[in-house]
């Protein structure tokens, strides 16, 4: 009983003195919820050029055709490699579940003429050798973190909220993130990731956004691994949103067709 009383008193004190409690201002959490709830397409398709650049300045360029389908509790994604030539026809399919169960992943290797299941042991795995983890690519639910609005500032001429998010799970791969959220559109424009030791690890920058079929769509994004001086750039083109994609596209059989 004593503890709870103490907690209540403590909360009141914090409430009274915390700078961000003005009614007019949105809380960090409210901002992140709005970002999360930003409408995305139920199905999307497009060409993707993924460029990895290492410390030596060497580049690894991959071209893919990508299809995405959101079935509510399951998000399905299928990608076909079109370049480089020696991996052309290789396809990759990922089903991720909102229930939190591990993703299901398949890969089709044309040289082996076989579809294989691969398993990733977690969302902290890097996507295709890039600087993005699967988690970075997906939408992290706002309830997984506690959020605090730390400041407001301009980013390349756009007024932004800067929200600090701290994961509730202490073992999460990042100790905290800072997100720059466009005040008018509620879309994240930049995010800084801090590692377990609290050092800056990566910076994600959204380089190009366009409204396609009424949906705000990211067309170019870049992740910079600051500590290793490594970069991944993803550029989308020919993007079609909500034009309808058949669920049949997301099968092991369709993987073997190469497109």
């Amino acid at each position: 009983m004593k503890t709870s009383l103490l907690t209540i008193v403590g909360s009141i004190i914090i409430f009274l003195f915390s700078p961000g409690n003005l009614q007019a201002q949105l809380s960090g959490e409210a901002i992140m919820v709005k970002v999360y709830e930003l409408p995305t397409g139920d199905n999307t398709q497009g060409e993707l050029i993924m460029t990895l650049t290492n410390k030596q300045g060497e580049e690894r360029v991959r071209k893919l055709t990508q299809y995405l389908l959101n079935e509510g509790d399951t998000e399905k994604k299928i990608m076909f490699f079109t370049a480089p030539a020696d991996v052309k026809g290789t396809s990759f399919m990922n089903w991720s579940y909102s229930s939190g169960k591990d993703d299901d992943q398949w890969i089709y290797l044309p040289a082996l003429k076989r579809t294989k299941r691969i398993s990733s042991s977690g969302k902290g795995d890097y996507f295709m050798g890039s600087d993005f983890t699967y988690d970075d690519l997906g939408d992290r639910h706002p309830t997984s973190d506690t959020h605090q609005l730390v400041r407001e500032e301009g980013l390349n001429g756009v007024d932004c909220y800067v929200v600090e998010s701290t994961p509730k799970d202490p073992d999460y791969m990042y100790s905290r993130t800072l997100t720059w959220v466009d005040k008018s559109r509620f879309i994240g424009l930049k995010r800084a990731f801090y590692d377990e030791d609290g050092d800056l690890l990566k910076i994600l920058t959204i380089k190009s956004i366009d409204e396609i079929n009424g949906i705000l769509t990211i067309l170019e994004t870049e992740m910079e691994q600051v500590q290793k001086n490594h970069r991944t750039n993803m550029k989308f083109s020919n993007v079609k949103v909500n034009q309808g994609i058949s669920a049949n596209k997301f099968t092991e059989r369709s993987m073997t067709l190469g497109q």
């Binding site: 580049e59 490699f81 020696d86 991996v87 290789t90 044309p110 040289a111 299941r117 990733s120």
Partner: protein, 764 residues
């Protein structure tokens, strides 16, 4: 009286001046002295081999590994040992010296496994397995994975390794102690923990050597002090002599500090040179002084000093100049520490020379000097004049014997020289039964090896290392290399591909081969990137697939072992070149090998240069080519015997042992010049060659004998050192001093006599 007073004032002024400069250098020394322990700093940065290796180390994050081994009496597959592997891995990952993905152990490693439906890359364990089933499962997983079994877990399953690649320049004494303490804290009744790896060997060496020297140097100085006192019979003369040695060392190291040049391990040889040479100067000085005062008991000290300086300045100048030139010839070396060694030793000798001519007289004037021995009483330290006479005559009578003996010794030495081998090993510097050697042998016995050699293959064409025929060739090279006893294992791109080929084909052994097409290779690699940690691949191949890194684990870090591995690789060079693939080597073991070769090449070259210079200078100084030749004899003899003995006793050439031959020049020249100069003087006085030789033997011979005795006695103390390289140092310095002494007083004297050197046909 007035002049005496003036001299005293002058002396006081010069001493104050010397002390002031010394104080300045001492201050510089205490403030700026920096030991250079990072071995990379020793290497010439612009040498192509080092440049390449440094570059490759950056490309593929090639790092030296600290190895922690856990040995359990029965099997490491028990919760306790597995917990320790996990905790030690995590503890190392937490240290700043190691990047997280540089710590490899059963706990951190990826396991590429196949299943009926596909491939998985997973951990061997995250939570420590507790039940028997879990433990057995883990054991089978490891057994099935050739990328881990025999590499991180021994075939006997009683030892597991944690290998942590250390960041460049991160090694320090604190880290070393931290790791040893950490490892020790995990010892138990059932488990033994070992620590090994090149950084540990280098670190122990870097700590043990200086530590041992700290213990031994006072002893060496004490013995030198005692023997010197026994000879000079004067506390003041002994103190003055040692003071000059001390001051010249302070000046040399002070200048080093003032110019911001760090102390390298070879720099520790500078005091050795300065002791050997400085003591000699003091002995010549006080010998002359004493002889004059004994011969002229009525004369005062100033007269004695002026006689001494008159007699001494010329040979001393010649000797110092020649020795300095000899050391400056080390500038021809490509290796900076050696260049610095040459410059600062030369500077120290110049200081010793100045001190002998200015400081010693000054301090003698201030302190006074008395000979305790009555002129008619025998000097205990020096052989009586009758004995010297008999000895000299005896030597001269047995010319033939001396020639034959010298010839035999030279032949024997030349035979020995052919056995001289170069060794860049660090491990070989330790006792065979020391912990560090035993640990190394233990790990080598159960695993691939503690030493590594990196082979970097490069092609102009992108995707060259996706071509099956190139990969097959590499695979063939790998299996041929591991077949020789010196190579334990090898690792690279091919191992990933073979593993994946097998896994994707239902774990069938028949598929443990290079995939058959470029596409298959490319797709496997893509697959690995998608499911494993792509960082692992960056350590073996670059983005363009035209540069790849293979690691060979070797059973030793000595030159013979590395050369054996290199030979196999080299035999494949033409085959690779046919595919447009170039071969290069990298890694610290390889760099050490190249470095040692470089030092020795430079050292041999500089010995040749300095021999030539010494011969030239002697010829000019004595205006006689004959004198030049004869004066070079002791040096040549000392150098030949020095290398010969190394070959015969199987002492490998290393940086230290090679530099020791510099003593041959420094000391040999000194002896020869003093002997020749005095001999010529006496010959001018009496024109009887035998008598002149007799007198030279009485004076110079005596001084040489004293000098050799003092230094030998001092350095023999090092034979009691616990650190083998320091023992070697003691033995070789003593031997070089002894051969210089013997060569001068026997062979050179005999040749002088036989060749009628300096005799202007007057004796006839």
């Amino acid at each position: 009286m007035k002049t005496k007073q003036n001299f005293k004032i002058l002396s006081a002024i010069s001493i104050v001046l010397f002390l002031a400069i010394s104080a300045y250098f001492f201050k510089a020394m205490t403030e700026n002295t920096r030991m250079e322990t990072n071995l990379d700093e020793y290497m010439p940065k612009d040498h192509p081999d080092f440049k390449y290796s440094d570059q490759a180390e950056e490309w593929f994050q090639i790092k030296d590994g600290i190895i922690i081994a856990i040995e359990h009496q029965e099997s490491i597959y028990n919760p306790e040992s597995l917990r320790k592997i996990k905790e030690l891995s995590k503890a190392l990952q937490d240290m700043d010296a190691f990047d997280d993905n540089e710590v490899k152990s059963l706990y951190t490693s990826d396991n590429i496994v196949g299943s009926a439906e596909g491939m998985e890359v997973e951990s061997f364990y995250k939570r420590v397995p507790k039940t028997d089933e879990e433990l057995t499962l883990l054991r089978h997983k490891v057994r099935d994975n050739e990328m881990v079994q025999g590499r991180l877990v021994s075939e006997s399953e009683t030892i597991a390794l944690i290998i942590a690649g250390i960041n460049d320049g991160a090694f320090s004494e604190d880290l070393y102690n931290e790791i040893l303490t950490l490892a020790e804290s995990y010892q138990s009744d059932q488990e033994r923990i070992y620590v090994a790896g090149r950084p540990i060997v280098e670190g122990t060496l870097g700590l043990l050597g200086p530590e041992d020297m700290k213990r031994m140097v006072p002893l060496v100085i004490a013995v030198i002090l005692l023997v010197l006192y026994w000879m000079l019979r004067s506390i003041r003369a002994t103190a003055a002599t040692l003071l000059t040695v001390f001051l010249s060392t302070v000046w040399a190291f002070g200048l080093m500090a003032a110019t911001g040049i760090p102390i390298y391990s070879v720099s520790t040889m500078i005091p050795v040179m300065l002791i050997a040479i400085g003591v000699a100067y003091g002995i010549y000085f006080f010998n002359h002084l004493k002889q004059f005062l004994m011969a002229n008991p009525e004369a005062d000290l100033l007269a004695g000093l002026s006689y001494t300086l008159r007699k001494l300045w010329k040979p001393l100048t010649m000797a110092a100049f020649t020795t300095i030139i000899g050391f400056i010839s080390l500038l021809s070396s490509e290796v900076y520490p050696i260049k610095y060694f040459g410059i600062f030793t030369a500077f120290g000798i110049a200081v010793s020379y100045l001190l002998a001519l200015l400081f010693l007289p000054a301090i003698t004037i201030l302190w006074g000097y008395r000979i305790k021995n009555r002129p008619n009483r025998k000097v205990a330290s020096s052989p009586s004049s009758q004995n010297v006479q008999a000895l000299t005559e005896g030597i001269l009578r047995r010319k033939k014997l001396i020639y034959v003996l010298t010839g035999a010794i030279i032949l024997f030495s030349i035979w020995g020289i052919q056995k001289v081998w170069i060794n860049s090993s660090f491990l070989d510097k330790f006792e065979k039964d020391s912990d560090i050697v035993q640990t190394d042998a233990f790990i080598n016995q159960h695993f691939g090896g503690t030493s590594t050699l990196n082979l970097v293959l490069e092609s102009e064409t992108n995707d060259a290392f996706k071509q099956p025929e190139v990969l097959e060739l590499i695979d063939k090279l790998q299996s041929e290399a591991v077949a020789i006893p010196e190579v334990g294992s090898s690792f690279g791109l091919t191992d990933y591909l073979k593993r994946m080929n097998k896994v994707m084909n239902s774990e069938m052994e028949a598929y443990y081969t290079i995939p058959e097409s470029v596409e298959m290779v490319a797709q496997y690699l893509l697959l690995y990137e998608m499911s494993g940690d792509p960082e692992n691949l960056t350590k073996v191949v670059n983005y363009d697939y035209n540069r790849t890194n293979f690691t060979f684990q070797l059973k030793g870090d000595d030159s013979k072992t590395i050369h054996a591995a290199l030979a196999i690789v080299e035999s494949y060079r033409p085959a690779f070149e046919a595919h447009g693939v170039a071969l290069n080597f990298a890694g610290s073991g390889y760099k050490a090998l190249v470095f040692t070769d470089l030092i020795l090449e430079g050292q041999l070259l500089s010995i040749a240069i300095s021999l030539g210079l010494v011969f030239l200078l002697l010829s000019i100084m004595f205006r006689s080519i004959k004198a030049g030749l004869i004066g070079s004899l002791p040096i040549i003899l000392t150098a030949i015997i020095s290398f010969g003995v190394m070959g015969l006793l199987n002492i490998p050439l290393s940086t230290t042992t090679a530099l020791l031959s510099s003593i041959a020049i420094g000391i040999g020249v000194d002896y020869a010049i003093h002997f020749l100069q005095n001999y010529r003087n006496y010959l001018d006085e009496s024109s009887n060659a035998s008598e002149a030789l007799q007198r030279t033997m009485q004076t110079t011979g005596n001084a040489i004998w004293n000098n050799a005795l003092v230094v030998i006695a001092g350095f023999l103390v090092l034979l009691f050192s616990v650190f083998p390289p320091n023992r070697m140092l003691g033995a070789l310095v003593s031997m070089n001093m002894f051969t210089s002494f013997l060569g001068t007083l026997s062979l050179m004297m005999v040749v002088i006599h036989a060749s009628r050197l300096f005799q202007k046909n007057k004796s006839k």
